[in-house]
């Protein structure tokens, strides 16, 4: 059933056994999984069916260092479907090592292991429409799978592991129809959570107070409550509710909002392959079930341990788009078309190069010099991305010169000083706005620097090509685009010790017995993997837990 808070009378009360706040990847997944259970489910969404400027503005806030982090209302969507309405769709599970306590990664270690999450990954994959839970070339394509670079061998980097791509699936467009006709699930739009009301002891949620932007007030009362509002908003909601706990809910030990992680990512160097260009394949392959898949260079767990560095993967990439020296008609066409490209995908179209009129003319010249290439690319993007339901995931340009750069995506170490906190300003509902103080550590730079050294050595030792880059520029490249957009991790971390974590192994707050958190806020470490698939897997695990424990009013 799809309802709207604006249609309720003032001071209306809604009741359900399980109340989920936030209809994004985690919230919708939980509601889907609880369809047909004997528990009633209320899924509250702040936004409507489409983006609404007034609602989206509730996400606005401050950033301590704007060079390092995007504004808080970017890469997030406050509407039915949440940020799945704009996500890129890259899926991969975390690796077993990500769950371990690693003595060289301070504050690492989950209270659960990979095997606790693994049973939920296959269904998560299906919900994300990423096909089978098969993340190796052998399992997906059989022994005939091609390598990324024929002849490349390495004891420290594997090339048989895949990333798979969702359509990308907009969870609202895809699953709202499944939620609408269910007797035990109510979805309520325009329900902004403004207060989590605790009992006298501060250990139980009594009810949630909701408001619309028009001023209507509604209460939601249930047996248990789940915050599925994303890594930033979850911290904001916990910190902003200070009636019973002066530092915020679950924040007795000053852990809420701390350890904020994204990923450490960038593009660097130039690798000139000496093998034939036909021996290099950096594009996508479609799995039998029709899912785009891509191989990457993944740093083996043994190498991470030996080197005492974080998790790391790399892909072959095209040259920097902004620099017209690449002489590619396609890349220049993209550069010139950047006003048409959504903000979240524009970042790499901005840079120090390419901004002068002369550079702009050189981009035009590149397009003029390659009209067939540009036209063919435009047709490909129109057919396979704009008009397709399963979209071609990204720009792939094979270099005739066999020259590529390296795109890397690495784990960010947990760091208590990297944090989300409350700003002094308030939003139109009277809620304190968010302030983001994202920071990285020298260890994060070291992970990338050392992994690149190993990769360069292995390219050379294999005799397939030379990777040239300036190690001194690693930090520059990491910070060129700032924190990786949209990955908001660790702000309500999972752990067994209430002094150093916010939720337990079942994602329940240590301090409040009927309040749970779904989403990447609970990840104690960030892995190299994009978080959505694991968010969905953990949401399924939490739904299973709630069904089993029979949370009722």
């Amino acid at each position: 059933m799809l309802l709207d808070t604006t249609d309720f009378p003032d001071d209306h009360e809604i009741r359900a056994d399980i109340i989920i706040v936030g209809a994004g990847a985690a919230g919708i997944t939980m509601a889907l999984d609880l369809i047909g259970s004997n528990q009633s489910v209320l899924l509250l969404e702040s936004g409507g069916l489409e983006e609404e400027p007034g609602t989206q503005d509730l996400y606005a806030g401050a950033v301590v260092n704007a060079r390092l982090h995007s504004p808080p209302d970017r890469y997030r969507q406050r509407r039915l479907g949440g940020t799945t309405t704009i996500w890129g769709g890259r899926c991969m599970p975390l690796d077993p090592i990500d769950f371990e306590v690693r003595d060289y990664v301070p504050a690492s270690g989950w209270p659960i292991t990979y095997t606790d999450v693994e049973p939920f990954y296959a269904r998560a994959n299906a919900i994300c429409e990423a096909g089978a839970f098969a993340y190796t070339t052998d399992a997906t394509f059989g022994p005939a799978a091609l390598p990324i670079v024929a002849g490349f061998t390495s004891a420290d980097f594997s090339t048989h592991r895949l990333e798979r791509f969702s359509c990308p699936t907009n969870f609202a467009a895809r699953y709202a129809h499944k939620l609408e006709g269910r007797h035990n699930v109510q979805v309520v739009l325009h329900a902004n959570l403004t207060q989590i009301v605790l009992d006298e002891n501060g250990t139980q949620v009594k009810q949630l107070l909701l408001r619309t932007l028009g001023g209507k007030r509604v209460a939601a009362r249930g047996g248990c409550y789940v915050l599925a509002t994303g890594g930033l908003e979850t911290a904001r909601l916990l910190l902003a509710n200070r009636d019973r706990h002066p530092k915020g809910i679950g924040n007795q030990h000053d852990t809420v909002g701390r350890y904020y992680m994204c990923h450490v990512a960038g593009t660097i160097g130039a690798i000139q392959f000496t093998c034939p260009s036909s021996a290099v394949y950096r594009g996508y392959r479609m799995s039998p079930e029709g899912v785009y898949c891509r191989q990457r260079f993944a740093l083996e767990e043994s190498a991470q341990r030996r080197e005492a560095i974080g998790n790391f993967i790399a892909r072959l990439h095209h040259p920097r788009i902004t620099d017209p020296a690449h002489r590619s008609a396609i890349l220049s066409l993209l550069y010139l078309a950047k006003p048409l490209i959504p903000y979240e995908y524009q970042q790499r179209l901005h840079g120090t190069e390419g901004n002068s009129p002369g550079d702009w003319l050189r981009h035009v010249a590149n397009v003029v010099a390659g009209p067939i290439e540009a036209a063919s690319f435009t047709w490909h993007m129109a057919r396979d991305r704009m008009l397709a339901e399963r979209k071609f995931p990204s720009i792939i340009i094979n270099s005739k010169a066999n020259l590529y750069s390296i795109d890397f995506h690495a784990e960010q170490y947990p760091n208590a000083a990297s944090r989300v906190l409350l700003d002094d300003t308030v939003d139109p509902l009277g809620m304190p706005r968010i302030k983001i103080d994202w920071r990285y550590l020298p260890e994060d730079v070291h992970t990338v620097r050392r992994a690149l050294e190993i990769l360069a050595k292995d390219f050379a030792a294999s005799g397939v090509g030379q990777l040239h880059y300036d190690p001194a520029l690693v930090e520059t490249e990491i910070t060129r685009y700032g924190a990786y957009g949209g990955h908001h991790i660790g702000t309500a971390r999972m752990g067994s010790d209430p002094r150093s974590s916010v939720v337990d192994a079942n994602c329940r707050l240590h301090a409040v017995h009927n309040l749970y958190i779904a989403g990447s806020a609970v990840f104690p470490t960030s892995s190299q993997a994009n978080p959505t698939l694991t968010i969905v897997a953990l949401a399924l695990r939490l739904a299973s837990h709630l069904r089993r424990t029979g949370a009722v009013r």
């Binding site: 499944k178 079930e289 029709g290 008009l387 397709a388």
Partner: protein
């Protein structure tokens, strides 16, 4: 030795042929088909029989007329004998959710479903009747849910349907349905009851279509856009049906006309009806062929 005498009515259907073959493989059973018998001959055959099995499939009119003829013959026969009447899950109409055999039909109910409901009403007039309500029969020889689907998949006219394929695909492997018919003719506790016949834990239509396409080698599976799916199943279906009925008489050019994807198939692919098969498992003792094995057999039969 006294052999069990079984009359199979509707032995021209894929199911009827298989049931007849299975019965004839038993030395203690004498099975015959009664499809072409005139009224009096049919009455005589039914009178002599221990068991009568109705496996008639086809359009609504065929279902109705076959049921009328057979039940007329049964009424003239005495004493009461076991009737195994193969009906359809369509008797639940537009119901969603888990349906057991007591679930009532939900509107809207199509002409085909109405014919099955009426036939079931007639069958229930016989105290020894056992009604079987199969889901979608698939496997070798099953044109509706394996043969034509294979052709659609091979020509990339269907595939991953997205939200259009979220419905529950209540498949039953054809050999499981044959076993259900054979069990129903003897199970003492089955008399006077209806049974849903479909695999337990069925896939969604998307899961079925993707797995079947992989088994057929029709890969990579195409993700249909909503526009294309509506075009195929709504706009193109009527003219293709007309073409099938007219040009289809001329085999020369009939093959040039692609088979229509009927709107009823599009609707079924979204219907979240799940057949509860507990009774069939407990009383008829049925076990279900795993989907992968069934798909291998179907793909092997239809991969050409």
């Amino acid at each position: 030795m006294i052999r069990e005498r079984v009359v199979v009515y509707g032995a021209g259907s894929p199911l009827g042929r298989r049931v007849l073959d299975a019965l004839r493989a038993n030395s203690d059973t004498h099975a015959l088909t009664a499809d072409s018998l005139e009224r009096e001959a049919l009455r005589a055959a039914v009178r002599e029989a221990d068991v009568v099995i109705n496996t008639t499939m086809g359009a609504a009119a065929t279902i109705s007329s076959a049921a009328n003829r057979l039940f007329d013959a049964l009424r003239a026969a005495a004493p009461a004998k076991r009737l195994v009447h193969v009906s359809s899950m369509t008797v639940y109409g537009s119901a969603i959710g888990k349906c057991n055999e007591t679930t009532l039909p939900v509107d809207p109910i199509g002409k085909y479903a109405a014919a099955h409901i009426a036939a079931e009403t007639g069958a229930r007039g016989f105290s020894q009747a056992v009604i079987l309500r199969p889901g979608c029969e698939y496997g070798p020889g099953c044109e509706a849910w394996s043969g034509r689907v294979a052709a659609w998949l091979a020509h990339r006219r269907i595939g991953d349907l997205g939200a259009g394929g979220d419905g529950c695909c209540n498949l039953v492997f054809i050999e499981d349905l044959v076993r259900a018919v054979l069990a129903a003719r003897r199970a003492p506790a089955a008399a006077g009851r209806a049974f849903n016949i479909a695999m337990a834990g069925p896939p969604s239509w998307n899961e079925y279509l993707i797995a079947y396409a992989i088994a057929l080698g029709a890969t990579p599976v195409h993700r249909m856009t909503r526009r294309r799916w509506m075009l195929e199943s709504r706009l193109l279906a009527p003219p293709l049906k007309v073409a099938e009925l007219t040009i289809g008489r001329f085999p020369f050019i009939a093959r040039l006309v692609p088979p229509p994807i009927p709107p009823s198939f599009r609707r079924l692919c979204t219907q979240e009806i799940r057949l509860d098969v507990t009774a069939a498992e407990e009383i008829l003792g049925l076990q279900w062929t795993p989907l992968a094995a069934g798909l291998r057999a179907a793909a092997s039969a239809f991969s050409d």
